[in-house]
């Protein structure tokens, strides 16, 4: 027999002066291979057209459907109801600005982050559009690709105790981003340059190693290893410049 599922959903529309933050319940019959993507769309179609939430790819690629599912930041389109109990609580991701109900603005946050960490290849070589692309070892390309898989959903940031305490913390996604350029041979930045960006408590030394980021990342990004790598690298950079100046 199909389960009857109860969804407690956070409701608040900051645009509407009448609106106050509250929880609202919806009941839905479970269907085969039901995901939260299907649930939320059905609620919107059948019960309340004003429900706000974000979706795009519904395949775990665009990263827009991050929300807190029974306490755990997850991608709604990736979450099957059969893995959840009968009562399910949905909250918007913390840290990010609330657009309304379950919809948050991760875009502005990531944009600002990428400005801060200068998320682009820094090179003094002039770009020659007619030249052949420079070659790179396959392992290096694969390692970079591995770190580029992040879909910017913000789950790791919402799950991070440090990010909750310090609004300026770059979060695992931001640090991972820096790590991606650090191993890119085309980027001419030195370790000192990277130290400028993440060698502080806003960056890698702020991370307290709670590893919630590692545990919630829906793309299973190697965040623990990445954070350990960066701390070691930046720690050594700090010591080097401490003893040479």
């Amino acid at each position: 027999m199909a389960r009857s599922l109860k969804f407690n959903i956070f409701r608040y529309n900051p645009q509407d002066p009448e609106s106050t933050p509250h929880m609202e319940s919806f009941v839905l019959e479970e269907t085969d291979s039901m995901t939260l993507f299907i649930v939320l769309n059905r609620i919107r179609e059948e019960q309340d057209p004003s429900l706000q939430f974000d979706f795009c790819c519904r395949a775990g690629i665009c990263g827009s459907c991050g929300m807190v599912v029974n306490g755990r930041p997850s991608l709604a389109c990736h979450t099957k109801t059969k893995d959840l109990p009968e009562e399910i609580t949905l909250l918007p991701l913390p840290v990010f600005q609330l657009v309304g109900d379950l919809s948050v603005d991760t875009g502005s946050w990531f944009r600002e982050l990428y400005d801060t960490v200068e998320s682009w290849i820094h090179t003094k070589k002039a770009f020659d559009p007619t030249a052949k692309e420079e070659r790179m070892e396959n392992e290096v390309a694969e390692a970079i690709y591995e770190l580029d898989r992040c879909v910017e959903c913000g789950c790791c940031v919402a799950a991070c105790g440090t990010a909750r305490l310090r609004p300026d913390f770059l979060g695992a996604a931001g640090l991972n981003r820096v790590g991606r350029f650090l191993i890119d041979p085309r980027d001419e930045r030195t370790e000192q340059d990277y130290y400028q960006i993440i060698g502080n408590d806003m960056g890698i030394f702020g991370c307290m190693g709670l590893l919630a980021c590692e545990d919630v990342c829906p793309k299973h990004m190697p965040l623990q290893d990445q954070l350990g790598f960066l701390r070691k690298k930046m720690g050594i950079t700090a010591l080097k410049s401490f003893f040479t100046k």
Partner: protein
């Protein structure tokens, strides 16, 4: 087009301090753990025989290690507190945030951090009291320790301090290993199990030691 920013500046002044402080925090913690292990060897030796403990204490005494090392450890203890306290939310707002966060997330490692911070604050007070009492009444002998543990409420004091310190040490070691990349993704589970086992073993040795002191009569 790429717009080089940091790469264009020749010699940017580095904020070395955050990195150095992070090292200092880790090393102060590791130093205290090393001390705690030596401390465990000293006091647990009473289980074998009070005279073994007296011999070890006598060695520390006659070489001056107790008189000089004791206060140094106390300084290290304070230094570690000051360094680690940079991460503790002392304002109610932050405490509420992290508490709500931990409750919502159901995530073991996040709770472990809360345990680490709460145990730390209690260790700060109780550890200071313990060190004061011991260091102001040198030399250390098995009989004096036994007399203290048998008097008043001291047994409860130590029965509380012991598990708090062992928890803090166990979590601290685990955290150093994951933060500094000494343990990778695949090692994490085993590391945690090892850490729990170690904590349990140390608490057991500690309780045995306290029991021995409780029944040790002059």
């Amino acid at each position: 087009m790429s717009v080089p920013l940091t790469a264009n500046h020749k010699s940017l002044q580095c904020h070395r301090w955050d990195g150095v402080l992070d090292w200092a925090q880790m090393l102060s913690g590791a130093g205290l753990i090393t001390f705690m292990w030596m401390h465990m060897i000293l006091v647990a030796s009473v289980v074998i025989s009070p005279s073994v403990m007296n011999a070890i204490a006598g060695f520390f005494e006659s070489t001056g290690l107790a008189q000089v090392g004791g206060p140094l450890i106390f300084l290290l203890f304070l230094a570690h507190f000051v360094l680690a306290a940079r991460k503790i939310p002392f304002r109610l707002e932050g405490q509420k945030t992290i508490w709500e966060h931990a409750k919502l997330l159901h995530h073991t490692d996040t709770w472990l951090w809360v345990v680490q911070v709460v145990s730390a604050m209690i260790i700060l007070v109780m550890g200071a009291i313990h060190m004061w009492v011991v260091l102001s009444d040198l030399p250390i002998t098995a009989l004096k320790s036994a007399a203290r543990i048998q008097s008043g409420a001291w047994i409860f004091f130590y029965l509380l301090l012991l598990p708090l310190v062992e928890l803090h040490v166990g979590i601290g070691l685990y955290r150093i290993a994951v933060k500094w990349g000494l343990a990778g993704r695949s090692d994490r589970k085993g590391l945690k199990r090892g850490e729990n086992l170690l904590t349990l073993i140390f608490i057991t040795i500690g309780v045995l030691t306290l029991i021995r002191f409780w029944f040790l009569k002059g």
